[in-house]
């Protein structure tokens, strides 16, 4: 396809413009401008322009070069020499006509894309942060709840009567801790025996409310349904007895009757009663499955685990105890012979967190 007709080497001189080359060749062949124009389907003005190297008629470089090549091929001369002459004169820069989209659709520029990515990241980070905050605030609420529960627990433990029966509490409360401490001390000295005494105490306690708390029952309606006041009262009333009773017993029995001198039939009852009354012992009855964790005063985990329904468990440790009881409504907690109302201490998720025995 390369028909190279170097008609005259002189024509290829670098100084000759493409228009001159073409014009000279056309005149040599005896063609008129109009003939060339009709052969190329171009207007004679365009052919004129091509020959005089003024390309006002043809603004697009591609077409200019195309016409030049078509013209030179029509004349039978090598189109490359003409294009070279054109390039030498006008440069090839126009050939590198850049195509730029006309619709400035405001494309998401590079920066825009980055901004978009950044904004997305920030939004995501913000969302994550908010979620964390919310979660933490919820956790914080829980903590607060626990914090709030704790004093309540303290109050309720020692002060179930306190809160619920204001008048007697004022009088009864102060001696209570002392008494319990004393009780504890006594118990420490004689662990086996106090059961019996306590049993007696509790018997008395059972009796006591009816006799002693008559006025209270009538005065404060809240107490009637609640057994809680009675033990405290009972304890309160028992305190002197305990002191009186135990002192001699510990002395006498600790020395003599310790190696199970007591009748065998008494032992289980004793144990139960002992557990019931012992402030170091927590008795748990699981009516439903529950996860329970108990820490004692020394922060030792004395009891932990998922308990199946229908099981019982006892935990011993140094009071006060910190308890976490899941599925609180399905668990019965007995401490010092009292049933602790877990339902009222359970949070919305039915987990009771509180402190017992302070």
């Amino acid at each position: 396809m390369s028909e190279t007709h170097y008609n005259d080497p002189a024509e290829l001189a670098p100084q000759s413009s493409p228009g001159e080359l073409l014009k000279r060749e056309r005149e040599k062949q005896g063609l008129s401008r109009e003939e060339v124009a009709s052969a190329l389907n171009l207007r004679p003005a365009v052919v004129d322009g091509l020959e005089s190297d003024s390309y006002d008629e043809v603004p697009v470089a591609t077409y200019r070069r195309g016409y030049l090549r078509a013209y030179s091929r029509l004349l039978g001369i090598d189109d490359r020499s003409v294009i070279e002459a054109y390039n030498a004169r006008f440069g090839n820069i126009e050939g590198e006509h850049r195509v730029t989209p006309v619709h400035v659709t405001k494309p998401p520029s590079r920066l825009g894309a980055w901004l978009f990515k950044l904004a997305t990241l920030i939004v995501i980070a913000g969302l994550v942060g908010l979620t964390l905050l919310w979660w933490q605030s919820r956790g914080g609420n829980d903590l607060l709840g626990i914090g709030g529960n704790e004093p309540v627990a303290v109050d309720t433990l020692d002060g179930t009567p306190v809160t619920e029966e204001p008048e007697p509490a004022g009088e009864m409360l102060p001696p209570l801790p002392d008494d319990s401490n004393e009780l504890g001390l006594v118990d420490d000295e004689a662990q086996i025996e106090p059961g019996s005494d306590v049993a007696v105490d509790s018997e008395r306690a059972d009796v006591a409310p009816s006799s002693i708390n008559d006025e209270e029952e009538t005065s404060t309606a809240a107490i009637t349904g609640d057994r809680s006041p009675s033990p405290s009262d009972a304890v309160a009333t028992l305190v002197p007895d305990a002191e009186v009773d135990m002192a001699p017993e510990t002395e006498s029995e600790a020395s003599v009757a310790e190696p199970s001198a007591e009748p065998a039939e008494e032992a289980p009852a004793e144990a139960v009663e002992e557990a019931a009354a012992d402030p170091r012992t927590l008795e748990l009855t699981f009516n439903e499955q529950s996860w329970t964790e108990i820490f004692d005063a020394n922060d030792n985990r004395i009891f932990v685990g998922l308990q199946e329904s229908g099981t019982q468990a006892t935990a011993e440790g140094q009071p006060p105890f910190r308890l976490t009881i899941g599925n609180a409504t399905g668990v019965e907690l007995r401490y010092r012979g009292e049933i602790i109302d877990l339902g009222s201490r359970a949070g919305s998720n039915n987990v009771a967190r509180f402190t017992l025995g302070e």
Partner: protein, 345 residues
């Protein structure tokens, strides 16, 4: 600065996946690969393996023993054999990467015929993805050809491009970065070869192969009478005698052979002109239409179309690579603009 950094790490390719030739343009480096779209498959038992791709495979075309088949996985501008196309692309992309240190998963822009169906486009896209492309863009061939030829596609002026490829001829009128009218006919270089083969068979009673037909077309083929007479000696198998015979063909005969095929192209061009809006038609009448693709190299094709349409016709510079170069230019613009030249699917 940013652009240079991006350019440093980018290994974007523009692939002109043609029926006859596959060209790969690497951004910033130009055309790096131009090979025939031919794959030679070796069959050993149930195992199929690629024996050769590109030039080597093309040499085998029509000369293979029983266990090797040299096939052209593209037909009429679209994929005819999906897996083979994928393997071919893989081979070409790897070849491009071996010579340079580009990342193994480039962004790829592939040219598709404008009348190809969604299924065909998806097939091309997926085969490019299967060949390791990270991202595949599709561009319609005439658009790429117009950009590659340097036409002012972004202007509010009609530009007409006729891209005559191996399998298809694409005719499009472009204005404002969009295709106003496009027509794709499944007539191209291959049809020229077939026409020549049929002519030789009819008039000489001899069979010639694809490669010979192509050689005849390239050496003496012409589209318009009046040029100097050329001749070529070819050898083909005589059908009556069953033995190879040598005979001489001249350009007039080939012109005769190609007449029908050329007429269909001319008809398509005329129909495009008929369909174009008057303003654009006047632009085209003023500036003319541009021929690209390998078919544009057929001697005096521009003259034929100029004669038939009465419009100025110019042949683009380096028409074979127009589409790949245009794809490359489009690729460069992808980063800068939401690129409306790209095909939607």
């Amino acid at each position: 600065m940013f652009k240079r950094l991006r350019g440093l790490f980018s290994s974007d390719l523009s692939i002109d996946l043609g029926t006859a030739n596959t060209l790969i343009y690497v951004r910033g480096r130009g055309i790096v690969l131009d090979e025939p779209s031919v794959v030679a498959i070796r069959q050993s038992g149930n195992m199929r393996s690629v024996a050769a791709v590109g030039v080597d495979a093309k040499r085998m075309l029509g000369r293979t023993p029983g266990n090797i088949t040299a096939i052209r996985p593209m037909k009429d501008g679209v994929i005819a054999d999906f897996t083979v196309t994928e393997q071919m692309l893989q081979h070409f992309i790897r070849k491009v990467h071996q010579s340079t240190f580009l990342t193994p998963s480039p962004r790829v822009l592939v040219c598709v015929p404008c009348m190809s169906t969604q299924v065909e486009r998806r097939a091309i896209k997926e085969s490019a993805e299967g060949a390791g492309a990270r991202e595949v863009f599709l561009i319609e061939e005439p658009m790429a050809a117009a950009i590659g030829a340097g036409l002012p596609v972004e202007e509010a002026q009609g530009s007409m491009v006729v891209d005559i490829g191996g399998g298809t001829s694409e005719i499009a009128i472009i204005s404002l970065n969009g295709v106003v009218y496009s027509e794709s006919i499944r007539v191209g270089g291959d049809r020229f070869d077939e026409a020549i083969t049929a002519y030789v068979r009819r008039h000489y009673g001899s069979l010639i192969g694809e490669a010979t037909a192509e050689r005849i077309k390239e050496e003496i083929g012409c589209a318009y009478p009046g040029g100097e007479l050329r001749e070529i000696d070819v050898r083909g198998r005589n059908l009556a005698e069953g033995i190879p015979r040598s005979f001489t063909l001249n350009s007039h005969e080939i012109l005769d052979a190609l007449q029908e095929t050329l007429a269909s192209i001319v008809a398509a061009v005329k129909s495009a002109l008929e369909q174009s809006p008057p303003e654009l038609a006047s632009d085209i009448a003023e500036r003319g239409l541009v021929l690209t693709g390998g078919g544009a190299l057929l001697r005096d094709l521009d003259k034929l179309i100029a004669e038939e349409t009465g419009l100025p016709v110019i042949v683009a510079e380096d028409p074979l690579t127009c589409v790949a170069r245009g794809g490359g230019k489009a690729l460069e613009m992808i980063d800068q603009h939401t690129f409306e030249l790209l095909s939607s699917d």
